[in-house]
């Protein structure tokens, strides 16, 4: 078997651990929710659109965001809940854009359905805004070529995959995920970079995402 191509820069895998910080902000109805969404810290919008991904990493292939869940299950606004759950998060490159989209949907719904603004959450069922504090830590896994990269993908934690795929792209505003970025800029392999960035990670469990990534890379090595 030929030696795999060495990269200009090795890929250092990082992991990301998170702590939830309470903001003290809470909403009892749609109007309050909308106002707070417009002004809450970006880390809070990120938290409520990504929390489910990690808490239920093995279970649900379609993790809803917290806004959709609350609007549906507490306020009983199923149509709005469905619209919020259907936001194609992968299309957004910044938290700011994602926040605007969520706010636009709620604002539009309130304009078309003024009575929806009159529904209140019961005691203890309000929407509590939480934000994510992320701790990014380098791991001992380093890949100098695609084979080492595939091996490391098998070994790293879900948190590490999560960091390079979700957090790097949207929260650190790198426009694409870290894996595609490295494969393209360091290996010069645009085809594999594109295949990885084309994956929609929001409609898979993290477990499935890991397997799919490993499959893509190992097939590419064989070809």
């Amino acid at each position: 078997m030929p030696e795999p191509m060495q990269t200009k820069e090795p890929f250092r895998f990082h992991t990301r651990l998170h702590l939830s910080e309470l903001t003290g902000l809470k909403a009892s109805n749609l109007k309050q929710l909308l106002e707070i969404i417009k002004t809450a810290p970006g880390s809070s919008i990120y938290h409520h659109t990504h929390r489910f991904l990690q808490q239920h990493m093995y279970l649900s292939p379609e993790p809803p965001n917290d806004f959709a869940y609350w609007v549906t299950n507490v306020l009983g606004e199923k149509e709005l809940g469905e619209r919020l759950a259907s936001i194609d998060t992968i299309e957004f490159l910044t938290i700011r854009d994602l926040r605007n989209k969520i706010a636009d949907i709620i604002q539009g719904y309130l304009a078309a359905n003024p009575s929806a603004g009159l529904r209140f959450a019961g005691e203890g069922e309000q929407f509590y805004f939480v934000k994510s504090v992320s701790f990014v830590i380098p791991t001992n896994y380093v890949a100098h070529n695609l084979r080492e990269f595939a091996d490391a993908l098998n070994m790293i934690t879900m948190d590490s995959i999560y960091f390079h795929i979700f957090e790097a792209r949207l929260r650190l505003e790198k426009k694409t995920n870290d894996f595609s970025l490295w494969v393209e800029t360091s290996l010069g392999d645009k085809e594999l970079a594109r295949s990885i960035s084309r994956l929609d990670p929001y409609t898979r469990t993290l477990d499935n995402l890991r397997k799919t990534l490993i499959g893509l890379v190992t097939r590419h090595i064989k070809d």
Partner: protein
């Protein structure tokens, strides 16, 4: 005491690797926990397990307990009830007693930690002697609707901390200090949660005169009105009309809870005419509690208020079907009809218990889902990780921290 390596089969190697990585960043820091009792209650239980594990990870954690007489603990019990929103007769002298004992503790207790981690309201005033070190106030109580007078009294101390920690988002208030959300946890290797041989379970049932000839419904908790043991008896009586079953109400007492014996007597009075109700006072016998949970068909936690509800965590970890009130931290653990059944009343609890007893396959599925949810989110390894992140967060203001 378990070795940190023994958790690997339960949570995976990667989780333990992360803990070591974080512990390395805290080398040299002394963490000082302070609470009001070394035995009984959830706080003491968690600290007893957590401190040795932190030590194995290389973190110097120590634990000190404040001193307080009978009067002081009567007052703090009143505070506890008032913070839960219960109508409580609190007098001016009560605040004076609290302040007087606090003053003695401030004089007598050395707060040497680089990070001083104060648990619950009893030692809250110690912060008055803070120096350049970091101070955290950890609230284990449901303060979603606190008595205003007590809350404002405590607030004078709370705002002097660097950060506060709560167990559920609904406990949050607008505060001038940072607030973090950290759920408590259970230790899967403790006597209360480890796997038990059937003969051990059988011997405990025999000791307490519980026969497995009819389904067992159990509530494990301190004898406390906020745990609503009398409500559990009412629910059991409704179930009993349709399904012949038995009820176990079992729990210990905490050293800082003087009201417990009175509630126990009320429960005994209520239960005395029914041989199928077993009221068991089991002070600090974790293995026996474990056995009774494992022998139960349905576990109930019908609390009126709840900090987090670790008895629910314990029951779910044992893959038991659980019926619990939708209060405090319980909805974080139970997604209704997915990992258990939530209720809001005696009638609702009775109906849910009947459903589970009559549909064993459904009950089994709820229990299995519950166990996986606990494995991923509420074991001690996740708790240790969160605490280490909290300690590190005290030295950083930003939302994305590169270590």
């Amino acid at each position: 005491m378990a070795n940190i390596e023994e958790y690997i089969p339960l949570v995976g190697q990667a989780v333990i690797d992360d803990l070591r990585l974080l512990a390395g960043r805290l080398k040299g820091k002394v963490i000082q926990h302070i609470n009001s009792t070394s035995v009984g209650g959830g706080v003491a239980e968690i600290l007893n397990r957590m401190i040795p594990l932190l030590g194995q990870l290389g973190i110097d954690s120590r634990w000190d307990v404040i001193k307080g007489g009978e009067q002081f603990f009567e007052v703090t019990k009143k505070f506890h009830n008032a913070l839960h929103g219960k109508n409580t007769d609190i007098r001016k002298e009560d605040f004076e007693i609290f302040l007087e004992t606090s003053r003695k503790n401030i004089e007598g207790l050395n707060t040497y930690g680089d990070i001083v981690f104060v648990h619950d309201p009893q030692p809250v005033a110690l912060v008055n002697k803070r120096g350049a070190n970091k101070w955290i106030w950890r609230c284990h109580v449901d303060i979603s609707k606190p008595d205003k007078r007590v809350w404002e009294f405590l607030m004078d101390f709370i705002i002097r901390y660097d950060a506060a920690v709560f167990s559920a988002p609904s406990f949050t208030h607008r505060l001038a200090i940072r607030q973090f959300l950290i759920s408590p946890s259970i230790d899967p290797l403790s006597d209360k949660n480890r796997e038990l041989p059937q003969e051990v379970i059988d011997s405990v049932l025999k000791k307490y005169g519980i026969k497995k000839d009819k389904p067992v419904i159990t509530q494990i908790s301190r004898f406390d009105r906020l745990k609503d043991p009398l409500g559990v008896i009412q629910a059991y009586r409704q179930v009993k009309k349709r399904i012949d079953c038995q009820l176990v109400l079992a729990g210990g007492g905490a050293a800082d809870d003087p009201e417990g014996l009175q509630v126990l007597e009320e429960v005994r009075d209520e239960a005395c005419r029914d041989n199928d109700i077993h009221v068991l006072l089991m002070p600090q016998n974790d293995m026996e509690v474990n056995a009774i949970q494992r022998a139960s068909d349905v576990i109930v936690q019908k609390s009126l208020k709840e900090g987090f509800g670790l008895t629910v965590t314990e029951a779910l970890w044992k893959a038991k079907p659980v019926v619990a009130s939708s209060v405090g931290g319980i909805p974080l653990q139970i997604t209704n009809k997915y990992s258990g059944l939530l209720c809001h009343s005696v009638d609702g609890a009775a109906f849910a218990i009947k459903q589970l007893l009559n549909s064993p396959a459904y009950a089994r599925k709820l229990g299995e889902n519950g166990r996986e949810h606990i494995r991923n989110n509420f074991l001690i390894t996740r708790h240790i990780k969160d605490y280490m992140l909290l300690f590190l967060a005290l030295y950083h203001e930003e939302d994305i921290i590169y270590l």
